[in-house]
Amino acid sequence: MLEKWKLREVIVLSVLAVVFAVVYLVFLQFGNVLYGVFGLIGYDLIFGIWFIVSIIAAYIIRKPGAALLSETIAAAIEVMIGNAVGPRLILSGMIQGIGAEAVFAAARWNNYRTWVLIAAGMGSSVTSFIWGYFISGYAALSPSYVTAMFFVRLISGALLAGLLGKWLSESLAKTGALSSFPIGKEQRRRKSENGFTA
């Protein structure tokens, strides 16, 4: 798979993964606080943030595998820099990545409109929830509570991963740093079109 990637795409992907690994770690502490306040559902409120890198990487690089790979690397780095959940987290990352990747795959990796990004965020919510259901034993909780958790997570994935990811990527593109990526070109096209109409 990587043979088709340009070196700079691989490196940009890794850099994004590393940066967001740090962000994830920060949010883990934040999640713990929410957990303390709201109980288990507290995590679900911000769960979407943990999928954001797959949305950003896919939206910027637009190649098959970007979502999965970035989320996996981010999880691995997170373990390396001190998320002591340990190796299991890498698997969780992979599963979250698969959710987003599946949505992008369904869109044939050539449609990156807002609703696709939102769907991708929700895709991660679904896979991560299924995984959590088995690994963390949600079965022991009351069904209505579990359903509530699921919907909260779905919304969180849509907003915090899908929309926030899109917004961040576009703010980045505005700085010109992504000018040689498809997203940068898209931005330029839009700008020049606006220029014509204005």
Partner: protein
Amino acid sequence: MASLRNQSLIKCEHLTFRHEDEQKPVFKSIDFTLYPGEAILLLGPSGCGKSTLAFCLNKLYPEAVDGELEGTVSYKGKMLEEFRPGEINKHIGIVFQDPESQFCMTTVEDELAFGLENMKTPPEEIGCKIDEALKLVHLLPFKHALIHTLSGGQKQKLALACVLSLKPEILILDEPTANLDPASSHELTRIIKRIKDERALSLLIIEHKLDDWIDLTDRCLVLNREGEILFNGSHADCFNTYAEELQAEGIWLPNTVKAGLLTKKAGIFTGKELPLNHEEMIAGLISPDSALQFLDNKKNTPTCLEKQTILSAKDLSFNIGPKELLKSISFTVKKGEFVAISGSNGSGKTTLSRLLAGLFSPSSGEILYHDRPLSSWKEHELRNKLGYVFQNPEHQLIADTVTDEIAFSLKIQHMPDNEIQKIVQTTLKQVNLLHHGDMHPFSLSQGQKRRLSVASMLVNEQELLLLDEPTFGQDAKTARELMALMEEKIQSGSSVVMITHDMEILHSYADKVIVLSDGEKIYEGTPAELWKEQEIMKLASLKVPYIEKLKDELRAMSRREKLAFT
């Protein structure tokens, strides 16, 4: 040699490159050939496309940017498109213009090892090759240093060591000496000369300051502002026939040529051709005495009145961990004074300037600005009165377009929009960036970035301007214009503290020079006095400006002549 040259190493045909969102190509239909063992000097005004051309020659462009490349480049008869990414780079080594952006590892040792690994060097040989390369550029003590802690010049040396260790067939150097002190930069040219002779290396050198390169290159390739070839041929032809055209394009002439041109106009130089080296220069002069008289006349006299002190540094020291970067430095800056700071690479100039700008606080000692300790100033008050230009222009730049960059601090001061517009336009014009207003600052050429970073500080009416090597990477014209802007500042009563490796600037502008060596102040005084202090000059890796050297020699000659008469 002619027999060697039957096969071309690199051949460019009708090469044209255009950035995707630009109408105008960077350079147009470039044709040239590099033969084995040959060295070409590539000249041109800042922003004419030299670096872009260099990237196109080894396939880094158009891969890394979005642009259209027309025409062909071939290496030993094989088209570049036929090489995999990274493949051709084993034959063509390059030192980038920006010393910050060419490293991919954390430590000096790893960086060198990385390249050698790529070349499939047997692991047991890598160790000694690393040492060998570091010794060449005197960086051996820094073998285990973290790259980001090296000074600007040290990074440039490391970049060179990296590429030399790979033993490429062709070496492209993009302004390899821009950040080096005069002695290192001279030494570096000698290293390259030696290696070229030993290994039959082919060279393409991009430089603004040519003096040390003339004798090791065979030919010049000159681009004009439009990115077209102006001239392609021998140095002698180039500087004789085109000297004035080159000057008009804003290209630096070698010092000897410049002096020759000057004296020729005054009728003192009678050589048939403009001098390409010192011997020819001396030989062409009618008599040492008249030349001396003429050159002495041109001397400017610094106006040193009794003035009020605006900045004083007392016993400044600065440590990072156990490392003493600065050791008890004291000096003062007066109103309307032009103070230059110089010294060898890594001597602590940048560190000192950061202390003066209030970005670092000294480990001990004190800085008084307008008789108040720097630390007691309110941030925004201080910034209105004190400007700072970073050594790395990219560190300065924070806005998304060139125009916004200049307008940035004006907007903070809530200046009316039309006034901002006006100032921005004049400033852009002054620094020759009028056509680049809408571009992103980071996509400018290195020299353009430098000018922008200076310009962003010139719009405010600060009383003190600290500039860290503001003229490096500039062509003659833009450098002159930048210095004129500084002069203007001085005239209006501001003071300028400028770090520079450029001895000519030191000589013709500075009222006072401070020389650092290893974190200590070893000299403070006028430039004219400095040239006489040989010990200090040597310690700080400085060099006497050419005109001064010439005058010294003429003086010696005239003394000898007089002795011969009596």
